[in-house]
Subunit: 381 residues, 2 copies
């Protein structure tokens, strides 16, 4: 049986948890391992400031608070995304303005953003779907022209890059004013549940830390910058336990190994399946401006029916594949509130995109078996 996902363990996760629990005796948030993880990201990827959170969802909620989202404010994002991208802003009263996907990629169509901007638009939230970069030069230009904030939903985009017009390679998550990452167990690097907010715009640096610490200036107090701490702003308990941070740190120490193997797997799928493009099945497209972090390998089937049959065929061969994301503008929760245009590309990916198994320990033999079963099915129909 080939599962869709299997969490990869480096072997040191429980060892570091043991250290946090038994040696450090610190298991609430913001201790040794939280700091180690945050420093890792700041040094490795040049993020200005990182704060671990309990999930990518809550990192996006912190972003919504920092963007000062108020009832009636509008936020532009793709309709083809996880519910959390929208929920984080809906919780603060935002009206979500959904944008279509590109015809050649499930992420937001940069050419359709500007027409959605109104005087109420507060933020644009591009989602780097499958870890593939959105065209950040285009998005930042639009945002700057209209004085709008950009929050990168980089849930799937760890260890990937964008190269824009200046030919400089920039880490995804370092370009928008704010960015959010996920370490959910289905991601490249994991901590079960977990996330991180990246603060690139220095105007948000102080406030982010306060919101993170339940609206108090406790962090500044412990650095000795102030002589007592108290309630100075809204906020929540966004800090994960040290237990979670310890687990994550073991993963981060192995990120190069993890990424190298995922990229091998991705390339093996790509080369093995390339021929099915001639049979009307789409493969992932990586634009020139994007690197590839091998978060996901997907197919785009010609129709919902074709996808359903392919899933069934693979399941009969003990291969578990999944689809996801139903266009949010058509969801039970939002369809009556949605007043915009049809979003045909978003609907296309909702109906037709299929994710293949991709995890660190997937063997070459297993990859080849998946490829073989897909080729047999598509080419013998």
């Amino acid at each position: 049986m080939i599962d869709f996902n299997k969490p990869y363990l480096t072997g040191k996760e429980v060892h570091y948890i043991y250290d946090a629990v038994h040696n450090e005796l610190h298991i609430s948030g913001n201790g040794k391992y939280t700091k180690l993880c945050q420093e890792f990201f700041e040094k490795q990827y040049g993020f200005r400031k990182c704060l671990l959170t309990t999930s990518c969802t809550t990192a996006l909620e912190m972003a919504a608070i920092l963007c000062d989202i108020k009832p009636g404010d509008e936020v532009i994002m793709p309709s083809y995304t996880f519910v959390s991208t929208a929920n984080a802003f809906v919780l603060h009263g935002a009206r979500i303005v959904f944008c279509d996907s590109k015809s050649y990629h499930p992420s937001i169509d940069e050419y359709k953003i500007e027409e959605l901007i109104t005087p109420k638009t507060k933020a644009i939230v591009p989602v780097h779907y499958a870890g593939t970069a959105c065209d950040m030069d285009k998005i930042m230009t639009i945002a700057n022209r209209h004085n709008i904030l950009v929050v990168e939903d980089a849930a799937q985009a760890i260890d990937n890059y964008y190269t824009g017009e200046d030919s400089i390679k920039k880490t995804l998550g370092s370009i928008g004013h704010l960015a959010a990452f996920s370490f959910h167990e289905t991601k490249n690097v994991i901590s079960g549940e977990g996330g991180m907010l990246v603060i690139n715009d220095p105007q948000f640096e102080k406030r982010a830390e306060i919101i993170w610490e339940k609206g108090t200036n406790r962090a500044a107090f412990f650095r000795g910058e102030i002589d007592k701490y108290g309630w100075v702003d809204k906020g929540s308990s966004f800090l994960p336990s040290e237990i979670i941070a310890a687990f994550l740190f073991a993963q981060l120490e192995n990120i190069e190994k993890i990424q190298a193997r995922r990229i091998e797997t991705w390339n093996r799928y790509y080369n093995g399946l390339k021929i099915i493009e001639n049979y009307g099945i789409g493969l992932p497209y990586i634009p020139d401006f994007s690197g590839n972090n091998a978060h996901m390998f997907y197919l785009v089937c010609p129709s919902l029916e074709a996808r359903t049959k392919l899933i069934e065929h693979l399941k009969n061969n003990d291969i578990y594949t999944v689809f996801h994301y139903l266009s949010l503008h058509k969801s039970v929760f939002y369809n009556t509130q949605y007043k915009g245009k049809e979003l045909p590309n978003s609907d296309l990916y909702s109906d037709c995109l299929l994710r293949l198994p991709l995890f660190f320990e997937l063997s070459n033999a297993e990859i080849d078996f998946v490829i073989e079963k897909i080729l047999n099915y598509i080419m013998n129909k």
Copy 2:
């Protein structure tokens, strides 16, 4: 050196984490250990439905969403409480109406609640300070008379009881429409960071699960009640990782032992320090309607100056004591918004309350040493 708090480990925490990670291969939320913890609470304490959360703060945020808090709604709570009690409702636009503490106990003065009710009042949030019960009969009567919801902030109140006019012992957290518990490392039973929402009013049962699962009906889908799931409501990622739930379950298996020792410790403090009441120092008061879960042992000093000197004296003897909570209505964040009366009892506890070391592994010799140093100081002044 006698620290204020030391997290107690039963020994099986990391073992269960190992099981979740290596045997179950399930480390995101809502797996084996989450279910074991929730079932434990439902069976042991008769809570209708329990949902583990990433913190007590986020459990209170779920409560705020379930109470349908909208900008301008008013929520009544004590001023002498942790910032999270207020933040959870502030995040949803509530105006906080602060109530004074009782003269004889830091928790909300039940006789001062009703005068604060207006047509905009949506909820009352009594905090069972130090784990000691608020007078829930009084509070529920007022709430029912005005058709207002009650959310018990039971952060400190695990394994404790209220006995009202009907002489029936009721678990704290089972009386209000909703209740929130904390498993932060300073609590009786811990998971580093962690919390739980209790849903007692069946009207909230279905929606609570949806909000918990990021606004989707995923839980019903996995129970086979519906054939696909999607975005049906607002929500967030309130689920803790299985890693956290596994840790908590090891603690819950030992709750009787933990509670028995804490109560011994509390009683030893009480008997040893009783005499200082004659010297103007207050000891904890447990009303007849409340049990004692020995969450906290505190003194009430005659003044801020007296407290500061006592802290200093104990510190010179390597004993670490802490105060906390500055009246929230006087905080930097809320003092300009606060339009109510002076709250002298809240200010009294802000200035004068001192918490003594209290943790599972505190030895009798250490307790006696703390008692001795306090008695010497108070009686020889």
